[in-house]
Structures are given as C-alpha cells and as structure tokens.
Amino acid sequence: MKRIAERVAEPGAHRTAAGSAALASAWPVIAGVALAWLLQQWIAPAIGPFYAKMVLDIGIAIVAASALNIVNGFAGQFSIGHAGFMMVGGYAAAWLTYYGSIRLWGTPGLHGGFLGGGDLLFLAGCVLGGAVAAVAGLVVGLPSLRLRGDYLAIVTLGFGEIVRVLIQRTGDVLAPADAAHTALPDTLGRLGGALGFPGLPDYTRIFYVYAAVTIVVVCAYRLKISSRGRALLAVRENEVAAEAVGIHTARVKVSAFVMSALFAGVGGGLFAHELGTTLNPRELGFQKSIDLVIMVVLGGMGSISGVILAAAILTVMPELFREFSDYRMPIYALALIVVMIVRPGGLLGVRELWDTAWWRRIAGNRRGPRAIARTARREDAP
C-alpha cells in the first residue's frame, strides 16, 4: 500500500522508467506469440490434425474461461450467461467475414494465405466481435452491477436467453449472389436462425488462437497486479469495505465486466470460424455458460494459471471419457459442490500455479515472483 502511495505521489518517477517498463511488459506478449507460432508451425503438424484440433479447442476454452475469470474470479461477481457474449461476438465476427468476403472478393470462401486479406478480415471480425460484446456487456452490466451480486447471475442468464431467442428469429443467410447486391444494413438480420450460420470460412488457426490467448492472459495478469485489479479483489472480498476506502465499486465492476465481455466476444469470433464447429444459438447456450463457470471454479476463482489448467483438462476430458458421458455432468456437478465446500476459492484459489507449495518443492524453494498470493482471501469474513 505504501509503495503505491509513494509512486502516486511522484508520478514523474515512474514516467522516466516507462521505456524500460514498456519493454518489460512486451516480452510476455512476444514470447506468447512466438509460442503460438511454434505450436502452429512445428507442434501441430507433428501431432496430427486431431490433436491439433484439441490444442485449438483448448486455446478457445482458455480465452473464454479467462474472460469469465476476470468478472467471476477477480471481481467476485457472478455471470452465468457468458456464452451469450461469445454468441454476440461470434455472430458479429461471422457477419463481417461472410458478408465482407462477398463484398471484397465475391465469394465467402477462404481468401489469401497466412496473414493475407482473408485472415486480416477475420481478425477484424474478431475485433468487431469483441467490441460488440463489450457494448452488450456495458448494457447488461450497468443496471445489474449497481445491485447485489446475485442479481447479476439472473440478469446474465436472462441476457443469454434473450440473445438466443433473438438470433433464432433471424432470417436465412443470403447466398453469395444475393448478398453481393444487398445493402449491408439489410444483411444484419440474415444470420441463419436456429440452424446456425452456414458457409463460414474456417480461418481460425492455432496461431491466431494462441495469440489471442497471449493477449487475454497478459491483460488478465497485468490487470490482476495493477491497482485496478487490486480494487477488484477488494470489491470481491468486501464490497462495503472497498467502498469505504474510496473505491468506486460500481465503476470498477462495470469496467471489469465490459473487459470480460470483450474477451468472450473475441473467443466467440474464434469459435465461429473453427473447422468442425457450427455457429448456432444452441451451441453457445446455457450449457456452455455453465461449462465456463465450472472451468473457472475448478481452476480457482482469480487464478489465471489455474483457469488455464482447468480449461485444458476439461476440454480434453470428454475425449478420454467418451464412453462414460452419461456420468460426465453428474461428476462435474459433484466436483463443483465438493470443491466449494472443501476449497471455497476453487482448487488454486486466487494463487497462481507457481505460488503453490508443490510447485515450489519441484522448482526449488524460490518464492513466486508475484506476491499477490499473500493476499489470499479470508474465508471467515463476518
């Protein structure tokens, strides 16, 4: 606390260090992007398309679950309609790539090679998806986040349902020949309805997914160790006390919620353009929202590495246990209850993987660099 106060008191002091700080904050992004490229170039061909698809699915799950972690883990607010934001983002991105491709190149098929025109359009679609989802997040968050936490759960759930119903009501996607001479605003209501958005080009590649993972994870991490993140954690621990120390609780909650919706929207855009998925309202419904909640809770509410781990494990699990899928949901549900009772903060709690005892035992007795774990939540709040 004191160190923050000191730094705030002399803003010039940290401005001089901005250059090296920028470099310092850039290296995780560069490393992540390099890793993404490595995964796509060497690892994916070596493990074969099926495992490559698993890697891809894990990446998308990480993006979506980490997004939820920001609002669910950091801010302690409870969203059970996050798939709704994925849906909004996915449809926005799909709309742009499909109708945009037709406008630009006359066909909705794949266009250009790596980082070619088609890829850039797809990336723009993901950004648009994130932006639209963020706006949706603002609309949903503003009224409900002013209230007690439980209401957010209900309102987000309702939001997911409303989005689903509205998308189901949209008309058929226009065929390329018709779409070419239809004004863009008129294509807005042409999203395929209940059967989903057909004919989307499969632009999603491991590189893009893991680049997105990098951005989301780095953002989440920077947020977690920033003063805004601390404010979120404070709100989560005790809203009244947080307000008492001068945190504008409604504002930090809403901004976290919007950021979370944004990343979920990007995840939706990636999901929409993956080979072997169809973008339809049913796929991104309540069940998907619950899957994301399970990832966050099992991984540890507020633990970035924990959520990544849980997202990976829970994505691979169905493949390992295809025969027992009858029992999959009961087991998840039971795990959820037991974890809540035995480890109320999720498996890792707010700690990161490298803050855990067994990690330190493996990695020697080096103390984790981020001391945030020290602020592990108190469970016995009155």
């Binding site: 700080a21 470099l23 490229w37 920033s226 080979l275 072997g276 025969e323 999959r328 949901m329 109320p344």
Partner: protein, 740 residues
C-alpha cells in the same frame, strides 16, 4: 488507493530485463521475425489427409452418433440399423472379400463434439467413410470436416436441405424437408380434402422451422390456405395462447412439425381446448413413445415417415423380420435409414474404382435405383434421394400405415414466400371466436399458470428470506416432485383407474419425499457453507441443480425418456362461459395452490414458528441470541419450501400431463420464470411472491395472446431488468441497508 489505472505498473513487477534474458529475447526476435515474414506459403490448416486404406484387412468406416444427450433415442435407432447392415454384409463375406469394421464415437448430441468426433475418426482411425447423423445441426458440423478432408460421409436421416450443400463428399439416403413438406401437404390436400390448415412450429428447432416453411409453400401451391402460423419454443409448457389462436381460425387440420415429445404434449393441450381436427407431423414424430406420451390425444393424427413396417414390399418384410430376430422389437424409421445408409455405402464400395475419398464419393453419388428398405433410392445431382414417402396414422396407440406419397411428377407452381416477420404475431385468418372468449380464456390460463409459478416462487422467497441466497436447485426439487408423483402413481396403480383417493395420497407422499430431499440438500451442501461468501453458496446451488438434473436422467433414476403423467382425476368441464370451459383440473390446481399459499401466509404471520422465521430473516444473530435455534428454523424452511415445490410439481403433471426429462430446458425455464416472479414481487416476501407470480403469468399469457408468442421469454426478462432498475427491492420488498 486513490488513483486507479489500467496500466499494470504496480509494485512487484520487475522493471526491465536482466542482461541474459534480454539477449535471449533478442535472439528470439531475430529468429521469429524473418520466419513470420516467410510464412505466407504456410501450409493450409487442413493438409491433404485423405483416407489411408491399407488395401487389405478390414475396411474401417466411422460412425458418429448421439449415444448420449438429449437425442440419445435417435442415436440408438441409428446405431441398431447400421449394426444390422454391417453384420449382414460381413456374413456375406464383406466388401471385396474384406470385413467391414465400424468405429463408433459418441457426440453427446452436441455439434461441436460432432465436429471433433469426425476429425478423430478421419485423422486418427483413418476411416474410408463416415456415417452420421440424425439431427441436421450435427450433420452440418460433421459434414464440414468430412468435406475438408475429402472423406465421403453418408447421412442417414438429416432432412435439412443445407446438409448436402456442404459439398460433393456428403450424400444422404433420407428425403429432404422440401419433399417432406410436400408429402404432408399433398396428403392433407388429397386424402384429407383439407383446404384450410394452421401451422404451429418450434422456432428454436431449425428442423421444425424449415419443415413448416416447406409445408406452407407446398400447401399454398396446391391451392390450399394457411390460416395462421404460430410458433412456440421447445420447452414452453403452456401453449394455450397459440392453440387458441389456431382454433379461432377454424382450420381443417393443423401441421405440427417438431419432435415426438413436443407433439405429444401439444396434442394433449389441443384436445383440451377443443381442437378436434387431425394434427399432422413429420418424421420427427416417429417414436414408439409418441402414442404413449400423447395418450388418447394422439389418436387419428398423421405423420410422414421414411417407411412403415406394414408396407408390403419384400425389402421391408425381410428387413423387419431379420431385425426382429436380431433385436427383438420392430424397427422404426431412423433404424431403417441407418440400415439403408450402410447398404448404399457398401453398394458404392462394390462399384467404386478404389476406396479413395474421391472415387468412393463418386460411386455413392452414382447410386441409381437401389432397392432399399426406405424405398427405391436414386441420388440426384445434389446427392439427395428421389423416392416416395409414407404417411402413418395413430390408431389404438399403434402407428399404422395410411398412404404412400410418390415424388411430384412436375414441379409445383411457385408461390410467394410467406411473410416470415408476421408469423406468430397473432391470427392471420379471420378469427371466429369472440374477443371476450379469448380474453376470458387468457385470464383462466393466467390464473392457473400464476398459481404454479407462485408455488415455486414461494420456495425461492422462503429460503432467500431466511438465508439470503438464491437456491438455484429449488426448480429441480419441483421437477423431482413431478417425477416422484409420476413414479408413485405408476407404482400404486392409480395410473389405470383414477379415484378420488389417488390425488391426496400422491400429493402427501410427494410432499414428504421432496421435503426430505430439500432438507438433505441443505444439510449436505448448504450447511457447511453457512458462513462462506455468498458467491460460494450460489455456485454450490448451481452444482446441486446440475447434479439433480443430470442424475434424474440416468437410466436407474427417472430415465432419459419423457413420460406421460397418468390422469389422477377425470377431467371434465365444470361450466362454460362465452365458449370457454372452466375445467376440473384447472379448478383443482387453482384451489389447491391458493389454499397452500394462504396456509403459508398464516404459518409465517400467525404462529410461533413463523415469528421465529421472520426473526431469523430480520437478523439471524440477534435471533440466535434470543434463543431461536437457527439450524432448526432453516431445516423447517427448506422442508416447507420443498413440499410446496412438490405440490407444484404434481399440479404441473396434472395440468400438462407430459413430463420432459429432468435436464430438459422446460424445467430450467420454468424455475427461472418463477424466480423472476419472486424477484419482481420482492424476494423474501410471501405476498410478493404470489403477486409477482400472477403478474409474470399475466405478462406471458397476454403477451403471447395479443402480441407475439415468440417473445414471451423476452418479456419476462425485460420486466426483470426494468424492475431491477426502478425498484430493486421488488414490488413488496423493503430496500435493505447493508451494515458493516
């Protein structure tokens, strides 16, 4: 902490890099940047993996099916059909002297998993061809994968047009929705001599929506009139607004494309409000459960199907005989299609130049005059079969053959597309019922539905009042109440003869059992978290809810199949006002619900126990200091709430008769709506819950009757958000100041 920024410049971050790390980073950048620049010719995501048929040993084909999930019954039919085809073929020496081997993966009825399963079949098991799926959404996901890897996919029974439009690798053996719509329209027009038909479709199911549109087009092209187009959402329990609108337009038949579980439910409701004309359906109706769920209401209804086991063709006779010998029961349409999918595939393998993807796909596309069980199959240029369909009729609870409809000889005249936007926005034809009758009917429905919502909402409100958390699992206790009542009714034999004794006995048993369930949940899941943050309790509640939902569908619990609640009282009309019947069941539901609400009100405000509950609700710590045993109060609260839910569940069963499986969205939506009612009324307040329930029911029923049936859930949640904005504590609630 006065200044907050998003820039992550907080303490603990190392500033700058150490020398060694900086050098490593530089090396990395040097290595990556040119490589990235040279990436333009990066291999496409899908490399040219085709089937790697080794040329000897078994021929491996893949099958992805819904073995679990909400379409598990389709998956089972599909699987049996294909299994028989493979066994017979192998008994005859296989293909080219090589046995056929099937790798089967479950896609859990989910599109994303279907895509993954097909990827795995093709790239891990190197199958030469893929067979699947039933639901079009799943086939679309799997088909895209098969197409991109150039492996042929044989679709047994997805009828949506778009499936084979994926590309040349995808072919199917079932007819498409366009044809099926024509078949039903032709049958209605020629055989039933109907000229005015109404449509009621599920807006959530692409299958239902597509079929409705095709029927609409074909029927108008044949010269008929569509009186009205009504929509519902799969899981809506109360369709009286839509059915009333249909009835008002006096149709000679009603087309009801959808799946069998909905069809049963809807026929029951349709017969109740006095619709007597035949209901028509598509192949989604084909299930041995159809007549059971719908009961007597299903009699005299027709649906189109791929085959009937009563057809006289030799292929059908032989197939039915062999199938019965192997599995012991009569195969349904999906089974026959699964069988034909296998047969057509093997026939193509016989003819193909090689088993390579492109050769095999060409051979499949070249299928001509293949005598399958489901008809003589000739694939057209879009790889869709041209063949005839049959119409079946429900007679004495059996599915009997009614007619065969051949493909149209000449294309139908074009008719303008129906105005989709207007669909469901009220009756399109001339209403014949009186406006007063409609109003009265809507009012009666509102009261009955409101009473049900109130019984659930009270449970939410009681628990919230005492413990201040949302018991998400409450709706599932309600679900269990309905199912427990069903099981007891079957066990005690009330199913066969309705007696005056049945209802009270079952009511009491169900209430006691659900109380026990509620108390157990509280003891095991919630009590350990008494002092935990509210979020934890909320997540636990969701966990309990998921646990109940998903164990309820297990075979040893209530099972994965929707059931029909036996009639515990004989329903009859007590009085008729303005053409609206006041029915016995509605009256019982209403009277019982009001009685329970009044009893609860008296309990909370007139007894010692009620005073204790209110004291705990007001301030648990002080209450405990005053000598109130909080644990006991909480237990009793859960017992009462769960008992009310059980009563609600039983009344639901009485009124709506068909019970969806416990994980079905009906229950989730019902619980959610009741919860919204509790919040709107002011959660924690008994009167508020009752008033909120009536209000929400009124919004739903009047909105559906007079505005649009498609948006009824949107109304509910809009009301919720408005109330939260304007009066966050609800209509009756008092704003609470949180103290430190």
């Amino acid at each position: 902490m006065t200044r907050r920024t998003f820039r992550g410049r907080a303490h603990g971050v190392r500033r700058g890099l150490t020398g060694r790390r900086r050098r490593a980073l530089a090396a990395l950048v040097v290595a990556v940047v040119p490589a990235l620049a040279a990436c333009d010719n990066l291999s496409p995501k899908v490399s040219g993996i085709s089937s790697h048929d080794p040329g000897s040993g078994p021929i491996v084909i893949g099958h992805y099916a819904s073995i679990t999930g909400d379409q598990a019954s389709f998956g089972a039919s599909d699987k049996n059909g294909l299994t028989l085809a493979v066994e017979e073929r192998n008994a005859r020496g296989g293909v080219h002297g090589r046995p056929i081997e099937v790798i089967r993966l479950d896609d859990a009825s989910k599109a994303a998993e279907a895509g993954t399963a097909v990827t795995r079949l093709i790239t891990e098991y190197h199958v030469v061809a893929v067979v699947g799926e039933v639901s079009s959404g799943l086939s679309l996901a799997g088909g895209a994968v098969a197409q991109s890897y150039h492996v042929p996919m044989m679709v047994p029974s997805s009828t949506n047009e778009r499936v084979t439009q994926i590309g040349n690798m995808v072919a199917r053996v079932c007819f498409i929705d366009g044809f099926q719509g024509y078949v039903v329209a032709k049958f209605a027009h020629d055989n039933l001599h109907a000229t005015r038909v109404g449509i009621l479709y599920d807006q959530q199911q692409a299958y239902s929506k597509g079929l409705a549109r095709e029927f609409d087009r074909a029927f108008r092209a044949l010269g008929g009139t569509i009186t009205t187009r009504q929509a519902y959402t799969g899981g809506d329990i109360n369709l009286s607004a839509q059915l009333q609108s249909l009835k008002d337009t006096n149709p000679e038949a009603i087309f009801l494309p959808g799946y069998y579980n909905d069809a049963g439910n809807i026929s029951i409701q349709a017969r109740k409000i006095g619709i007597t004309v035949p209901l028509l359906g598509g192949d989604g109706w084909d299930s041995e459960k159809l007549a059971e769920i719908g009961g007597a209401a299903m009699e005299g209804n027709y649906y189109s199907n791929h085959y009937s086991f009563e057809e006289g063709r030799p292929e059908v006779k032989g197939f039915v005989e062999r199938f019965q010998k192997r599995f012991g029961f009569v195969p349904d349409g999906l089974t026959a299609l699964g069988y034909d999918a296998g047969q057509v595939l093997f026939d193509a393998m016989d003819r193909a130049k090689s088993l390579d993807g492109d050769d095999l796909a060409a051979a499949i596309a070249g299928t001509r005059d293949f005598h399958g069980v489901t008809g003589v199959i000739t694939l057209d240029e879009h790889r869709n079969p041209v063949k005839s369909a049959v119409m079946l009729v429900i007679k004495n609870g059996e599915r009997r053959y009614a007619a065969t409809i051949p493909p149209p000889t000449a294309p139908l005249p074009d008719v303008p597309e129906a105005d989709d936007a207007g669909a469901g926005a009220g009756p399109a034809g001339a209403p014949t019922g009186s406006a007063g009758g409609k109003l009265l009917q809507t009012l009666v429905d509102t009261l009955a539905l409101g009473a049900l919502y109130a019984l659930i909402a009270l449970g939410y409100t009681l628990v919230y009042g005492v413990l201040r958390f949302i018991n998400f699992a409450h709706a599932d206790v309600f679900t269990f109440g309905a199912w427990i009542a069903f099981v007891i009714a079957r066990r005690l034999g009330f199913a066969s003869d309705p007696s005056a004794l049945g209802l009270p006995v079952i009511l009491v048993i169900a209430m006691v059992l659900c109380s026990a369930l509620g108390v157990t949940i509280e003891r095991l899941a919630y009590r350990p978290l008494r002092n935990a943050p509210r979020l934890n309790v909320l997540i636990t509640a969701i966990g309990v809810s998921l646990l109940l939902q998903n164990t309820g569908t297990l075979p040893w619990a209530f099972g994965p199949i929707p059931q029909h609640m036996p009639a515990l009282i004989t329903d009859r009309s007590l009085a008729t006002v303005a053409g609206v019947h006041l029915r016995l069941v509605d009256t019982v539901v209403l009277v019982l619900a009001v009685a329970l609400v009044v009893a609860l009100e008296l309990l909370v405000y007139r007894t010692r126990l009620g005073r204790a509950m209110r004291a705990v609700s007001f301030d648990a710590r002080v209450a405990s200091l005053m000598g109130i045993n909080i644990g006991r109060v909480v237990t009793i609260t859960f017992a009462i709430g769960s008992a009310l839910a059980a009563a609600g569940g039983l009344l639901y069963g009485l009124k709506y008769e068909s019970l969806q499986i416990t994980s079905h969205s009906t229950w989730v939506l019902l619980g959610l709506t009741a919860f919204v009612a509790a919040v709107v009324g002011g959660i924690g307040d008994v009167r508020g819950a009752a008033v909120g329930a009536l209000l929400i029911a009124a919004v739903q029923q009047f909105g559906a009757a007079y505005l649009s049936t498609q948006l009824r859930d949107v109304y509910v949640f809009t009301i919720l958000i408005v109330v939260l904005l304007v009066k966050p504590a609800g209509l009756y609630g008092r704003p609470m100041v949180e103290k430190v």
